[in-house]
Subunit: 390 residues, 2 copies
């Protein structure tokens, strides 16, 4: 049972919001500046107080004051004097205490098992754990998650900043899983349950929305769409640097949008030609398994299947890319399926179906985070929620 010596920091930003939404006190401004200092150190690395002052626009006095707080809280450490020779009093280097805290990340998006990891502040995975799901649903499934968190916590030796969970289904901002059919969850207050049990800050969000945080954490793109292709198809979206949740908390649920005007495979939802029916991994592997590997054109037949899937993805994404003028779309899923023909077909389709002029610098790429994208995204979510840093 570990506790951290600080709570979540409310964060402010210059925003283009049309209407102010609530009062702001000077102390809120301070939280913001605190997070700003932390963020500067986190992304730019060890440097002096004076450096931070120059980079943030705050004065040296204010930075020193904020840093004193952060050091007292154990979030920042002094590293001693800068080595290089230059005029003036030598600087005392400071940095985020990168090895003082760890984060628990949980990925509930796989069908057969729940994955978990201890992640350090840099996003590196320190240790892993998993539990087989064995088709558990409802409270049983919740118990499995708690077991997984518990066993990971026993492996940590330093304070834990918080617990981040990426869950399938629709998750509201309070970490209540409104609906996750696979897990038999309806209005399961996962965040509250875990927070009660472990007395740690807990953040829960949809798996694809969590995944896009991992991508954002490493690229810092302000506009980003991540398509997560697995047993189902979902998306996570960041616009203007902020995650998009959606009015019904179901943003990114594009798996059951119909593709094109020429029908398509029957989907589990009962309709024909849903994106998921074209693109979900089980569907793709089933199609590929039917191929005769000995046939002379096996390779091109495989590419045709994958290219058609990619084309269908492009057809669905084109209106979204156009409407949002997105510059960066990322695919996450099995690289052996996504890379190559599928990827190329998606790019081609996107380019030919949107106005090239406006989307000239559109990039579509595979994520480099492989299997760990949800685990690392969950860590980013905690980092961002607790420290205002990512």
């Amino acid at each position: 049972m570990l506790t951290v010596p600080f709570g979540g920091a409310p964060i402010f930003t210059r925003s283009r919001a049309l209407r102010p939404t609530g009062k702001v006190l000077p102390e809120h401004a301070r939280s913001h500046n605190r997070a700003l200092v932390l963020q500067t150190l986190y992304t730019a690395g060890a440097r002096s107080r004076a450096d931070v002052a120059r980079e943030t626009g705050l004065t040296r006095v204010t930075v020193s004051d904020l840093v004193a707080d952060l050091i007292a809280e154990g979030l920042v450490v002094e590293l001693g004097q800068r080595e290089d020779a230059r005029p003036g009093k030598p600087a005392t280097l400071i940095d985020v205490a990168r090895d003082a805290f760890q984060i628990i990340g949980i990925d509930l998006s796989e069908h057969q098992r729940f994955l978990g990891a201890v992640v350090d502040l840099e996003g590196r995975i320190v240790s892993r754990a998993e539990v087989p799901r064995d088709d558990a649903t409802g409270e049983q499934a919740v118990a499995l998650v708690a077991d997984l968190v518990g066993s990971l916590l026993t492996t940590t030796t330093i304070p834990v900043l918080g617990i981040g969970v990426g869950s399938p289904g629709v998750v509201d901002p309070h970490g209540v899983v409104r609906s996750a059919p696979n897990l038999g969850w309806t209005d399961v207050a996962l965040q509250a349950l875990l927070a009660d049990e472990f007395d740690l800050p807990v953040h829960v969000a949809n798996d694809a929305n969590v995944a896009v945080l991992a991508e954002h954490g490493s690229t810092h793109q302000d506009d980003l769409l991540l398509v997560k292709i697995g047993h189902g198809v979902g998306a996570g979206l960041i616009i203007g640097g902020r995650p998009v949740i959606g009015g019904g908390f179901a943003a990114g649920e594009i798996g059951h949008v119909e593709v094109g005007t020429d029908g398509g495979p029957r989907c589990v939802c009962g309709r024909d030609g849903c994106l998921e029916a074209w693109l979900a991994v089980p569907r793709l592997t089933a199609q590929l398994d039917e191929l005769d590997l000995e046939a002379p054109d096996a390779a091109s037949a495989r590419d045709r299947i994958l290219a058609e899937a990619g084309r269908r993805l492009g057809i669905v994404l084109a209106p979204v890319v156009g409407a949002l003028n997105l510059s960066e779309v990322v695919l996450s899923g099995p690289a052996d399926l996504l890379d190559g023909a599928l990827h190329e077909a998606t790019v081609d389709t996107l380019r030919t179906r949107t106005m090239a002029e406006n989307n000239r610098d559109l990039r579509l790429r595979l994520t480099e985070q492989a299997q760990d994208i949800v685990l690392r995204g969950a860590a980013v979510m905690v980092l961002s929620g607790q420290l205002g840093v990512s």
Copy 2:
């Protein structure tokens, strides 16, 4: 040559931004609270300082202090004592000085003429003006806009809060029209030009993005997509209460997204089946004009044409609605074309092509703002930019 006694107020909001973006000083907090008070009065109407304090969460002391500033600036006025009898000291009612300022709104989205209006703080149109465009382009077109603004300014008798312009094409956040082919504009710094000439705050944005502000100003929906159907087809988007601009400042440009997988009419851009080729007003009227009005099935033939256009719109919007989990989509354009078969077909298509469960409360409606949507949106833009109010 009028000037206003105050500048733009930087606005802050509790945000879910992942990373803090700049320092925040106590004076920024005060600007925010100032706008909050103004907003409360603006939307809720005349009330006492104590009422405002209760509604904003600020103390009566702070509200009194802020209101004193606002009164000194002429933005707020005292209206005398509240009439109704109740215990305690009678309240002094205060309200936004609704008749102390006017706004100039300009709509450049029509092909044949430029429209302008003097708009009051409530969004009501006080007077109108227009200039025929006569195919003017480039600097000539800029001069026409300046003339229009100039002639409107001569009709104002009270201070002008600012000038708002809705322009076709791609407009960056600094009010530079990056590209407006119809007007022959490339990188025209319209905002700077007008600000120099008239010495007033000027805000310029894309016409559809401006139009959605008008809708937001009257509904205060946090997520809103407006599709503007005229000579072309464009969209304006508000997500999480904030306008979406797009990485290349071209958000909402969905006119040249291809619809469906079965071709379609040839578009001016050279491809087949763009949304604009299906849905633009000239295309629809041309199709309808070909109908034999004497034929026995003329009415149903008309409906078939409009329904197909509506279906095509639904096909393009479905992925956007799904990805953003939008709850409100608004159509703007000629009501005689949009209302009825077209509207119904769009709704049907959206419902059948997205996952009903997640988009249960999706509403698709026509705007009630008719022809003035850009003019009034321009006023909202100025109101929001100058006072943090909408």
